[in-house]
Symmetry: C2
Subunit: 243 residues, 2 copies
């Protein structure tokens, strides 16, 4: 593992800087994971105190985003990283944007939970289920990043298709509900926005997975299907690991 | 202008590489702008041929995204750019992600226009208006990038607040429409997704503006209000321009 982190460089100062960037990304990831979990809890339990907590955390997430990008720029300017170190910096810079947007979507969900009036419709089951799936995806994506594990990243990315299928089904059932009981329109719309946010979180988690594959394998698998991702990684393996 | 592009380096090979990255970003921007315009046209004129064109262009946009990021990684590895050149690379790498997502949202709008059945409700006026606003924002953002013009970028970013206000108003009128005529639910929902996509396009265009300010002024203005952006830029000016 250490050889990946150090790459071509051996300066201990440099490896500390790389370590710090990775740690900050994981801290930001943990914070955003918590935001997502709290936003769902706020919605499902109609708990406005938890919702407020999600909104307050936004500033911290935004600060981390800027701080990490600044660290990346500094290392690029002063250390001229190469190979896996350079890919780590580039991947981190993409990942912070995705994490920031997951935080954003979580804040939107928290906001919806604050605006929600009265009882939620029955079809909250769909939201609960998709919420659980995308939380799991995000957790696995961050875990894959922490372990430099491309296989785990692809496995996590594969769940995005399931999330999309669940999303379509949940959305259809909400449309039916709305048609059957037009008085529920406002409340159902709120849930639709929540579903849409969760579906976006799934996309961002998938983006993070793609960046993990890039940083470990040196292969840009964006816009690839899961099968294409697997083939790309296997191909690389036959040709040996990249530096 | 040339001193900005060359930065500290004088190798003509290097300046050609930087120029190529900038040109590819602007080409990608032009393509995405066209996608957005076509998607709106397809929706407003119920023109499925134009919608198909938007969907077909997606692959080209995706390829450009990957190609530009590859060029950026190569320049970072081989040229160790500094100052404005380094910031250009970092800003371009962020901008390609935003452009790709604008392309994505345009494809979603084109998809909605293909699924749309029968006449569109009257409130298409809102969509037309917001569509026009975000197209203009994107165009100004790309123009600001092409000219290294931070003031123009801030001016363009300022329109995002208007877009958000228009979005809220259009959304409210669609909810009313839905309640008054529940038979319109499916068609109105389609328009709501379109509005949501357009609002996202506004956000991404604003992100591009923020990157232009970063690359020209060396100041990270993400999550700043427009007034804070102006203050940050003026501050820098008093202290002299960054390298």
């Amino acid at each position: 593992m250490t050889k990946f982190i150090l790459g071509k460089h051996s300066s201990s100062q440099f490896s500390q800087e790389m370590e710090s960037i990775r740690n900050h990304l994981l801290r930001m990831g943990g914070l955003v994971e918590k935001q997502l979990g709290d936003a769902l809890e706020a919605l499902l339990n109609n708990d406005s105190a938890v919702a407020e907590k999600v909104l307050i955390t936004e500033d911290e997430v935004d600060e981390l985003e800027k701080r990490i990008d600044e660290e990346c720029a500094r290392v690029l300017a002063l250390r001229q990283p190469a190979a896996i170190d350079l890919r780590t910096i580039l991947a981190v810079s993409k990942c912070v944007s995705d994490l920031e947007r997951i935080g954003d979507e979580s804040a939107k969900i928290a906001q919806q939970s604050l605006e929600q009036e009265g009882e939620l419709p029955m079809s909250l089951v769909g939201v609960k289920h998709i919420g659980h799936s995308v939380k799991h995806m995000l957790n696995s994506a961050l875990d894959a990043f922490a372990r430099f594990d491309a296989d785990k990243a692809i496995e996590a990315a594969a769940h995005d298709d399931e999330v999309d299928t669940e999303y379509q089904a949940a959305m259809r059932s909400l449309v039916t509900l709305m048609m059957e009981d037009p008085r529920s329109i406002t409340r159902v719309l709120n849930l639709m926005w929540v579903l849409r946010s969760l579906e976006r979180v799934g996309d961002h988690a998938r983006n993070i997975c793609e960046q993990v594959v890039y940083l470990v394998k040196g292969k840009d698998v964006r816009h690839f299907s899961v099968d294409e991702m697997l083939a790309a990684v296997q191909n690389k393996r036959h040709g040996g690991e990249p530096e």
